[in-house]
Amino acid sequence: MSEKERTAIIRFRDVSKFYGDFQVLKSVDFEAMSGERIVVCGPSGSGKSTLIRCINGLESYEQGEITVDGQRLGKDAAALRKVRNQVGMVFQQFNLFPHLTVLENLTLGPIRARKMSTGEARDIAMRYLERVRIPEQADKYPRQLSGGQQQRVAIARSLCMEPRIMLFDEPTSALDPEMITEVLDVMVELAGTGMTMIVVTHEMGFARKVADRMVFMDHGEIVETAAPGEFFTAPKSQRCRDFLDKILNH
């Protein structure tokens, strides 16, 4: 237990969040260890996106406590900044900056937030563009790239901040089927580097391959959490069984 305490990099304690009367998160307790790869799944509206958006403070919460890398997320702007320096995020809709080139998309954070020189930022950007295998697109604008390429740029943009944790919010849901693999390949490779990853996705093949732990959410609650082997072969709850039946059997 004490060892677990020491290495938990993300910790939710009894976290609740409301949209007006609607409760999106219901007393969520959740922990992620440093280097752990967690896949979060569940039906739409189950609160899984909200859960990971709380981790970098894009969503606030009303009850409980969230700590990320020792910083308590709350009203404290300095703590929020420290957390965001450690947490990268990849969005379903990529959210690249359309008025900036690929390279400028990548260097904006390092230059403005990490106070790097243009040259340093450029070096880092090119390194990560090579890692996502599109260095030749550096001077293009996002709209000139395919969806898969845009999402890989978005991953590289987050990596340029050299975060300790990467969050993925349904990174392949807006992609054409033939482009999903190129994005998942990059993510699998990233998982191999020991990065802490929290991934909301319905790509169960990916989950089987890289997840250390599966988290199933429904109606704002974490219903089940298990190692992938156990999760896919012997889910404990009926809700989880129903969900897996729906997404796996076709």
């Binding site: 959210n95 900056f97 904006l108 403005r112």
Partner: protein, 245 residues
């Protein structure tokens, strides 16, 4: 647009034999040339006044728009009140109030030029604020989230991510405001600003040819505004090719 101008000129000139007395501004006669240069001598004030006022009003408009988009209700309310209040004052009234009223209130004397600039900038700032608000609101939420997720603070997010995109979208509206400003600057003639309209008024008094002189005045504004719309169109095109090349 050049054709429109020619048609208008042809129409005006064809009628000159009957009722028009173009001699007052005929550049081939010495008197006409003097009158014409007198009319045009107001040009630099009209342009200078309008440009100064539009720059100030854009800055002011942005300063008013940003709190209007805040999550804090009292900031939004302050911005709202400013816009409603300023928008309710007719521009001519604003000019009179700033020129005659403000010095009494503050004890400072303001020259005609700066009184005009302040009045026009204030009046226009409410509209600029509304334009900026709409432009900033049209940028998707995801752009803020992406900027915050790479640790940008609010000011950098606005400066490098949101405003560059918003300004591209509101450029035509900003161009409209500049054209509007050029026209509104004619009102500053009432406090004695030596701009285009004032010069025309003065010449009418000595020459008593209002039709010809005011027609020249109309053409002066027309040319200015055509230049503005051409400029805005050029800028829009350039920004588009920027992103496509």
């Amino acid at each position: 647009m050049n054709r429109l101008l020619l048609v208008f000129l042809a129409f005006a000139l064809s009628a000159c034999s009957a009722n028009w007395g173009w001699y007052v501004v005929n550049p081939q006669t010495k008197a006409g040339w003097t009158n014409l240069t007198f009319l045009l001598s107001g040009l630099k004030y009209t342009v200078l006044l309008s440009l100064t006022a539009i720059l100030i009003s854009i800055a002011l408009g942005l300063l008013v728009a940003l709190p209007g988009l805040s999550t804090r209700p009292w900031l939004r309310r302050a911005s709202r009140i400013y816009v409603e209040l300023i928008r309710a004052v007719p521009i001519l009234v604003m000019i009179l109030w700033v020129y005659y009223g403000l010095p009494q209130l503050t004890g400072l004397t303001i020259g005609v030029f700066w009184a005009g600039v302040i009045a026009l900038a204030l009046s226009d700032s409410a509209f600029e604020a509304e334009i900026f608000r709409a432009g900033i609101q049209s940028i998707a939420r995801g752009q803020y989230e992406a900027a915050y997720s790479v640790s940008l603070n609010y000011i950098d997010t606005m400066r490098y991510v949101i405003l560059p995109q918003a300004i591209r979208r509101i450029l035509p509206a900003l161009g409209n405001q500049l054209a509007y400003m050029l026209k509104m600057s004619s009102l500053v003639s009432v406090i004695g600003m030596q701009e285009l309209t004032r010069k025309a008024n003065e010449l009418v008094v000595t020459e008593y040819r209002p039709l010809e002189i005011y027609t020249v005045l109309v053409l002066e504004y027309l040319v200015l505004i055509l230049i503005v719309s051409g400029g805005v169109r050029w800028l829009e095109r350039r920004m588009q090719t920027d992103e496509r090349s």
